[in-house]
Subunit: 192 residues, 2 copies
């Protein structure tokens, strides 16, 4: 996605430790016209597949999932982070090591939000090592639902999560794939 | 907003302590067609006022702010909760007592996200005691920006926050105003 690469190059900030900050358009300030283009891109990629529901993670996944859901006419469910759980038998809980935050997060989805046999499109803003994505895949599997596809806005391919998930047989599409980055430059793969 | 009251009555769950759970359409699962109607309602209310930016709070404010922003053609900034702050001089930080979660949250907005003289529309899903809203108002004031209006999806009027904020002179509009509730019924004000 050409516009996305342009925005990463012009507005993204690379921080030490392989962190890319895109606070200006995706993670703190939301550039709604840009996010609309992201939604159109995901619609064009996944429109011919069965999608009953979009699953994402709070907070940065919510805007892109919301806009995409408008185009695909399906509801969104977002996994919650680190909430107090009153009724542990009624939720799926997964522990996730966060790459950016250097701490463990607990992801929670109420069991009634994922139904047996549903076709789930998973969307998220970033894919690094793939730990959070793996947690969502585990939940969908426990629910007996199907993963119809995975859409990622920015994949940091040099951290290996994308290839690991693809090797499991999932159809994972990223709108921008970064193969290398330092504070001077960001390198994208050719195939975007 | 008639559809909202219907959804609160049919899908909302009242829990002890004055808590209303609307996980089925607003706080965990997002009913996108319904949220689109919320966005249209806020657009109709605020379309004739100057709005440069929408300010909301993660996570449940993001979807409604995103859809409303599509109609008003402005960006969204969402306050982050309980994040690690590397550069405290570059952010506004406010401590907020959360009514639902029975704990204190720290709200953070980067200073560069709010500009002097900007017209800010504040949107959020719930208004109870008004502590989180007051935190956003403090940030906008510190930035030297103007609050052009405040839009709330569900106001729990019996908890007093709305009247307190209105008494300060702010133009606060709620799409549904609950005057009383128990596990048997939810009572709305007449003026919605």
């Amino acid at each position: 996605m050409k516009l996305l690469k342009k925005k990463i190059r012009e507005e993204g900030i690379v921080e030490p430790g392989g962190i890319l900050r895109v606070d200006q358009f995706l993670n703190h300030r939301l550039d709604i016209e840009f996010i609309n283009e992201v939604g159109i891109a995901f619609k064009d990629i996944f429109r011919d597949r069965p999608v009953d529901k979009i699953l994402t993670i709070e907070s940065s996944g919510i805007a892109i999932a919301t806009i995409t859901a408008q185009y695909l006419h399906v509801p969104v469910v977002f996994a919650k982070k680190n909430i107090h759980v009153n009724l542990p038998n009624e939720v799926y809980i997964e522990q996730v090591e966060s790459f950016t935050q250097k701490k463990n997060n607990q992801l929670v989805v109420a069991k009634k939000m994922l139904c047996h046999g549903e076709n789930i499109l998973i969307l998220d803003d970033f894919l690094a090592k793939g730990n959070a994505l793996q947690a969502l895949l585990n939940m969908v599997q426990k629910a007996g639902a199907n993963v119809t596809g995975i859409g990622i806005v920015i994949e940091k391919a040099f951290q290996g999560g994308g290839d690991r998930i693809r090797d499991l047989g999932y159809d994972l599409v990223s709108l921008a794939t970064i193969t290398a980055m330092d504070d001077q430059s960001v390198t994208f793969s050719d195939e975007d």
